[in-house]
Symmetry: C2
Subunit: 427 residues, 2 copies
């Protein structure tokens, strides 16, 4: 079963919004084994929407069209589908009743413009609306199909999961197609460059490519994602979810082994596990609390740590000491230059003292564009204080503009905590 | 001149990454008056890339293809273009030399696989690479054209601005086309809901629609953007940039007047001006410094303020008092419940005292999913302390999960500073 996604909206062509709906739908289709060879975006123009549908139906078994179901005169997806089906639009009174009830439940009267949303191409089935006013549509075109959903992301997602995915699976079963699944796993790393990861894994990737002419295959891709780390994504296509999971497990182990040999302890998480989750894990394992002293990162590191549910068990807080006087007066940093190893050490120890935490992490550095204390933009010092241990300081440089310097400094400093405490734990 | 964008990469179809390149290119094309009626995405498959090119060339004057120019066997955009042009690939020795020099400058030897990047369709012109290894291409196909650029966003952007945009403008001049420009302006608001904005502006939008049958037109769209506010976007298509700017100025004034009548002081910025820029402006206008005491938002408000270049002139820092003891011990909040008006007041005053700032802003509340101090998730108190003024506290509730609660709390609290100090300034 091959489906083409068509996103409708002039704002997509003008780059005013990103087409996240097609991305989401692509991921969902892959997960249920539906192939997608092309995506299209098209503006709010009747002839062009019709042309996009005809182009898509010529090269796929069906289309999911997203957007253009609203109540205004720009919303012409229904008309375009009717033309491709060669049928008239007919008003569905059950939809009128449902829309009117939705307005009345909010104490408002339905504007006449919403009546358009009750006009459906003759012969199509409705996907009942549960969150907005526009129903979705399942429209037969010969032996092919056009599914129409609203462009509002949560309405689109709800209708896909509730109606389109089951319908696709039924069609595949009727065609005797083994659906198969495409599944992927993200191995998140910090400490090696993207090209370093590529070189380390080159031999493994060559071996996979050599094997991929059989029925089973795994592919590996790299994605540098700023504060989220550098991702190694393994994608497999297998008969069923269990096989896919087993192949992904084996691939994850292989990648971990290669990277461990090449770069040491660089894997900090899997899939959605962010660096703050890894920090939470080592702190919980040792029963330690943490406090921060942030200058360069201005609260960014703290704002990441509070993302973790239950952070209050181990996160005390942060002193964002942007002004030098706050470093001197609140954290007890000796007066003088503040982008130094000494300042990072004093800030980390000050964080423990002021916030009453077991561990103190400090980040000081130069965001740019100008140098500070004789140090160029991208210079960072991170300090790690811990009762009963010598305070450690890590000096490093990161590339990029102010925003990227802050992101890289944050993930580097949090990874410093993960590695240092992890080392103690396993030692 | 009509251009279709074709993005190449199986990872786009699988939804593994968002197609931000097409969005960026769409915006750039509109800015120079080039029309785009369709976008396509296609996987790394020779026949399908060729089909995508032929489809695009049938309905546009040219194609910009993005991606598939790398050194690996998956990178087959060059081969597909050669097939569409019906010419062979020929190795360009000047490209070989450039790639080899780039590797040598990094102290490395060029792998043989990179030689593929020097194979160019016969008869095409090169766009010299300045940041990576793959050159871009300008490929004539009959009287139409295919531009090829790498998928790496900054390489793509560099080649578009340096070579493709000038080439397109020259072609339009040769065709005697008045380019015209599509321009837009974003009016950023906080304090009215999206539907409230829509209702307030409904009459104005109807009047625009009635006028839009002439040569000039303006359209208005709404976009709720979390911590970036709710955006009102005005888009116009005009003969030249000056006319477009004048129409946008008039539209901005009209929208400001309507919103000011309907919701008061809700416009905080234009285009890229974020809420932190608006806060910086009122602080600089009064020569005041600010310090924060953040609980709920965990450093997010501070991390936004340091985005503003020159923040050190007015931003002192933040005490992220996530643990209640930090509120009591560092900020001097009386022991007891911490999601209260009294705690917000004491935190704001504590921020001034501890950080030595003229103004103190506090944010305390419940991120969820569980209630705290008997208050439901989404409950927020923001305090604003200022020497010589009564400390103000604003209580409000915001919807959403933990992340959205934090974002809405942050923009609401920063907007509270903008409005309160702005009121004093103009009073």
């Amino acid at each position: 079963m091959r489906i083409e996604i068509v996103a409708v909206g002039t704002e997509l062509l003008l780059g005013q919004i990103a087409d996240t709906n097609s991305q989401w739908l692509g991921e969902q289709l892959a997960a249920i084994g539906v192939t997608s060879h092309f995506h299209q975006a098209v503006g709010d123009n009747h002839e062009r929407i019709v042309l996009a549908f005809r182009t898509a139906l010529a090269r796929a078994d069906g289309v999911i069209v997203c957007g253009g179901l609203g109540p205004t005169h720009d919303d012409i997806t229904r008309d375009a589908i009717a033309e491709v089906m060669n049928v008239p639009l007919v008003r569905d009174e059950s939809v009128v009743t449902a829309i009117r009830a939705m307005f009345e439940s909010r104490g408002r009267t339905m504007p006449d413009s919403n009546l358009r949303q009750a006009d459906v191409p003759e012969g199509s089935a409705l996907i009942r609306q549960t969150m907005g006013t526009a129903p979705g549509l399942i429209c037969p075109v010969g032996h092919k199909v056009v599914y129409a959903v609203p462009g509002v992301p949560y309405e689109m997602a709800d209708m896909f999961s509730r109606a389109i995915a089951p319908d696709l699976q039924q069609r595949m079963a009727e065609r005797g197609e083994s659906a198969g699944v495409i599944a992927s796993r993200v191995i998140r790393t910090w400490g090696m460059s993207e090209s370093g990861l590529g070189e380390a894994l080159a031999g493994h990737i060559d071996a996979l490519d050599a094997r991929s002419h059989g029925t089973s295959s795994a592919t590996i891709a790299f994605l540098a994602s700023g504060i989220e780390g550098i991702k190694v994504r393994v994608t497999v296509r297998e008969e069923d979810e269990m096989t896919a999971a087993a192949v992904l497990d084996a691939e994850e182990s292989a990648v971990r082994a290669v990277l461990s040999g090449a770069g040491g302890d660089v894997v900090f998480g899997i899939d959605d596990e962010a660096i703050e989750d890894a920090v939470a894990k080592v702190l919980l394992a040792e029963g330690l609390t943490i406090g921060l002293a942030e200058s360069l990162t201005g609260g960014l590191a703290a704002s990441r740590l509070v993302n973790v549910p239950g952070a209050s068990a181990w996160f005390r807080g942060s002193v964002v000491s942007y002004a030098s006087e706050v470093k001197f007066d609140v954290l007890g940093v000796p007066e003088g230059p503040v982008v130094t190893e000494e300042a990072a050490r004093a800030m980390a120890e000050g964080a423990c003292r002021v916030l009453g935490s077991d561990v103190g992490l400090s980040i000081t550095g130069v965001a740019g564009p100008h140098e500070q204390d004789g140090q160029p933009p991208g210079t960072v010092y991170a300090g790690l204080a811990r009762a009963g241990h010598e305070t450690e300081v890590m000096a490093f440089t990161v590339p990029g503009d102010r925003s990227r310097v802050r992101q890289y400094a944050t993930i580097s400093a949090l990874d410093f905590v993960r590695r240092s405490l992890g080392r103690t734990t396993t030692a």
